[in-house]
Symmetry: C2
DNA sequence: AGTTGAACCTCTAGTGGCTAGAGGATGTAT
DNA sequence: ATACATCCTCTAGCCACTAGAGGTTCAACT
């Protein structure tokens, strides 16, 4: 039986985060001691590890909820889990593409700066005038 | 003189966002009509464009505040603006590196899925077991 | 001058995914 | 019995907005 603190340590989660996951019903309500402290077993450890790892791979808590549901039905076909992962992959790829464009723009900006007065600063100039940019970078989201 | 709506349209900002920027003192309090409606001039248009463009390049509102301050002192040396931009570039590069690792992991996951039952789903298996991963991907932040 | 209706106003609350802190109770080791 | 680390609940805060309620103003048209 694990206290919330040792569960936190084992999974690399903060204590408050575990309580937060319980509050939003991503983690089940665990057993309690007579004094009211939470005690966890292996099932909870596995579930939290799954959640943490999914978070590290960038899945949203909603997506994780779906994935956990799917894991509870071992006989259903797995294309749903597959679809969620593919969706996540697409999103990651979109973000990378967008950040690459930003990287180029920032790089150019920084290298064109000659280090004079702010009045002539290339960095500020580019920020002032979008048309000095090579790429579009419309949406924010990154 | 521009209404808040036309300023919004010209800069690609939402009306509420402009009011929010005013509230956090990123935008100045504009003049008002007798009836109390906001009216904007060219200075505000320029300032908001600068803000929007900086946001598109991923700068935080705090960084933008600094950049705006710097722009107001044309005779100061520009290495501060330069440093802010370099910081931003570094952050973008870190995010790209992290997302690249995620991309590889997700790609592997998705391609190893054979489309059977969820019990044998490679996607769920990888999520369950971090040691099946090639990379570390410790922090979340992405 | 009166009427319509789009755009404006303020204020409050919600989003995601936590994080921090107050103020007090419990559990364990000595 | 005592110390004190860890636990408890509850509230509020973070970033950068976004949405909606409920009411007012502006500009155009008749």
């Amino acid at each position: 039986m694990l206290t919330i603190g040792s569960l936190a340590k084992k999974t690399g989660t903060k204590v408050q985060t575990i309580r937060y996951y319980e509050q939003i019903k991503l983690m089940p309500e665990p057993g309690r001691t007579e004094g009211g402290q939470r005690r966890y077993g292996d099932a909870e450890l596995d579930r939290l590890s799954f959640i943490r790892h999914s978070r590290q791979l960038g899945f949203s808590l909603d997506a994780i909820r779906e994935l956990l549901d799917l894991g509870d039905h071992p006989n259903r076909p797995c294309h749903e889990a597959d679809a969620i992962a593919r969706r996540q992959l697409k999103q990651v790829e979109r973000r990378i593409a967008r950040l690459e464009a930003l990287r180029m723009e920032l790089n150019r900006m920084v290298h064109e700066c000659s280090g004079g007065r702010t009045a002539d600063c290339r960095v500020l100039e580019v920020l002032r005038d979008h048309s000095a940019c090579l790429t579009d970078h419309e949406e924010i989201e990154a």
